[in-house]
Amino acid sequence: MNAPTRVTAPASAAVGSAGRGNRLRRSTLLRHLAVALVAALLLVAASYGLEPFRNFQLATVAAYLCATAGLTVLTGLNGQLSLGHGALMATGAYTVALTQGRFLDSGVTSGWLLVVSLLASVLVTVAVGAVIGLAAARLRGPYLAGLTLAVAVVVPAVAITFDGVFGGEQGLSVPVEPPPLALGPYFPYERWQAWLAGAAMLLTMLLLANLVRSRFGRALRAVRDDEVAARLAGIHVGRTQVLAFVVSAGCAGLGGGLLAVLAQSVSPGAFSLTLSLFLLMAIVIGGLGSLAGAVWGAVLLVALPDLTHSVTELFTLSPSVAQRWEGNLPLAIFGVTLIVVMIAAPGGIHGLLTRAGRLLARRRRP
């Protein structure tokens, strides 16, 4: 994890030779830890300031962020397009549901069970991701997209085929323990959810941010930009691609597991092809090249349905018509935005913001 200190040494030496005060700037790990700490404090503060529903939304953003960040590593940095991440999230969600159910059946109760279930969901998705990743490493562009699309379409069918295990169309409920008593008897459940998902998200982001800055991260980008050159530079292309898929699958599994915990249920309908498309939309609109783009994407995923809901409420529509608009308008807006972003601003929101920032900086410094 700490490889960057060695490899980025020349670059950071050029930036700050002044030494001591720049220690934070020089060590990627320390800098990321500091950012994570600040983010954690902000999250806790926000969770006290927000009303319960907003806390739930915050938790949902955190859950999505695990998945979009993982997908950014795969698609944005490694150039492998996956339409199957909704299916991987489903894998994580069902794993959490099944493990939690098993615990409940055997009568074990402890606050740590949830952590164990979430770890199980990561491990299972990592295994599934390794299988798909092995196939993916041999495929290019549209072929990989087609294969992962098939995965996304087929996985809900699996849940329905083996309905004895997965509960068919209705899915499974996820029994979750209340917040620990140490937090006080009246600790709001939504705040607990925000903490839980926030902690998992921060851990994921910290690991991914360091990974992206490491030697492996550079290998990822090298493979994306030019496979032949990467191979000539001694990078094992296939291994890099499989690893990228495994890492990103694990993140998706964690995100799916968190979603299951938040909703306290899983069903095939929640993990349809549309979810997979949404994840891709989110990272493209957020900005493909960086983890910051994944943050924007995750926020969009939660905020957009809410926004369109308030827009449709402005018009007096009959209930059935309003329902049609409400369900479909976010889809349409996402689709149109995606096409426009892809054609006009391939850097996404993050790209636009950095460009605006650079323009401002240039104007200030003549």
Partner: protein, 292 residues
């Protein structure tokens, strides 16, 4: 034995539809090196047009013709208004834009028609003839074979025997040289998109009555099957697409007949995986390479 015969005919009828749909994918791939992931959604949109026209006029066939016309138009519009502006820096760009189209089309259909299943009538009887105790084909199956066969022959004639087909092939194969020789390359590309979407619309009209009904997501699984068919045949080869379609149709029919219809999506995934891992260029790649 009689079950096997029935499943075979049923599979061939299904396969004919996949073949037509795979052919549409192959047409765009040959013209623009794009796999049109929006093909299914576009076909569903034309089927909704057919539904509207049919309910307004009371005639199935007017709706059928309207669907084909809407397909041609939609294909041309998608090329002229969207795909032409997509950057070619990465092959992912076109795929992502096509997926955006999927969302837009499905959302608009959901807003206009609702997300419920609408009934989709078949123009002919779907109960099969029996001969000597063997269950064979339904009149509707014969209609499917006839329609797909006519399209395949028509396309073969157009690409092989007409000047416009020659120009389309030239524009796809060597755009720069064709442009110098006076071929309207952009126009040929738009024509390719229109033709492909028209064929896709036909496939949609043929398959939707045999599925649950008309729904914005009606073609999702059909698209995956057709993509598999196109990959089995190699994305570059129209005859390969037809054979691939029949292979996929037969496989799905046997699996759903002998194992269970719930398992067919898994069978498609397995076939796609096996073909991609063993012969990513398709089963007919070698033959196609020699032709070009």
């Amino acid at each position: 034995m009689d079950r096997f015969v029935f499943l075979t005919f049923d599979g061939l009828a299904r396969g004919a539809v996949y073949a037509a749909f795979a052919l549409a994918l192959v047409l765009i791939w040959r013209a623009a090196r794009i796999v049109n992931f929006a093909q299914g959604a576009m076909a569903v949109a034309t089927a909704y047009v057919a539904h509207s026209v049919s309910t307004a006029t009371g005639s199935y066939w007017l709706g059928f013709v309207a669907a084909l016309a809407a397909g041609l138009l939609l294909g041309a519009v998608v090329d002229v208004a969207v795909m032409r502006f997509v950057g070619h820096s990465s092959p992912l760009n076109a795929v992502i834009v096509a997926l955006g189209l999927v969302l837009v089309i499905q959302a608009v259909l959901g807003i206009v028609y609702g997300n419920e299943f609408l009934p989709a009538p078949a123009p002919f009887d779907r109960t099969a003839f029996t001969a000597g105790g063997l269950v064979l084909l339904s009149p509707y199956d014969l209609f499917v074979f006839g329609a797909v066969g006519a399209v395949v022959l028509g396309l073969a004639w157009m690409f092989g025997r007409t000047a416009i087909g020659l120009r389309m092939r030239a524009a796809a194969f060597a755009p720069e040289v064709s442009r110098l020789l006076g071929v309207n390359v952009g126009g040929m590309l738009t024509l390719g998109w229109a033709l492909a979407a028209g064929v896709g619309a036909l496939a949609g009209m043929l398959v939707i009555p045999t599925e649950l009904g008309l729904h914005p997501h009606a073609m999702d699984l059909v698209f995956v099957s057709a993509f598999t068919a196109a990959v089995v045949g190699g994305l570059d080869s129209p005859p390969g697409a037809v054979i691939g379609g029949l292979v996929v149709g037969l496989l799905l029919s046997y699996v759903s007949g002998y194992v269970g219809s719930d398992v067919t999506p898994l069978a498609v995934l397995a076939l796609l995986l096996v073909v991609l891992l063993t012969r990513p260029g398709g089963l007919f790649a070698g033959v196609a390479a020699r032709h070009v």
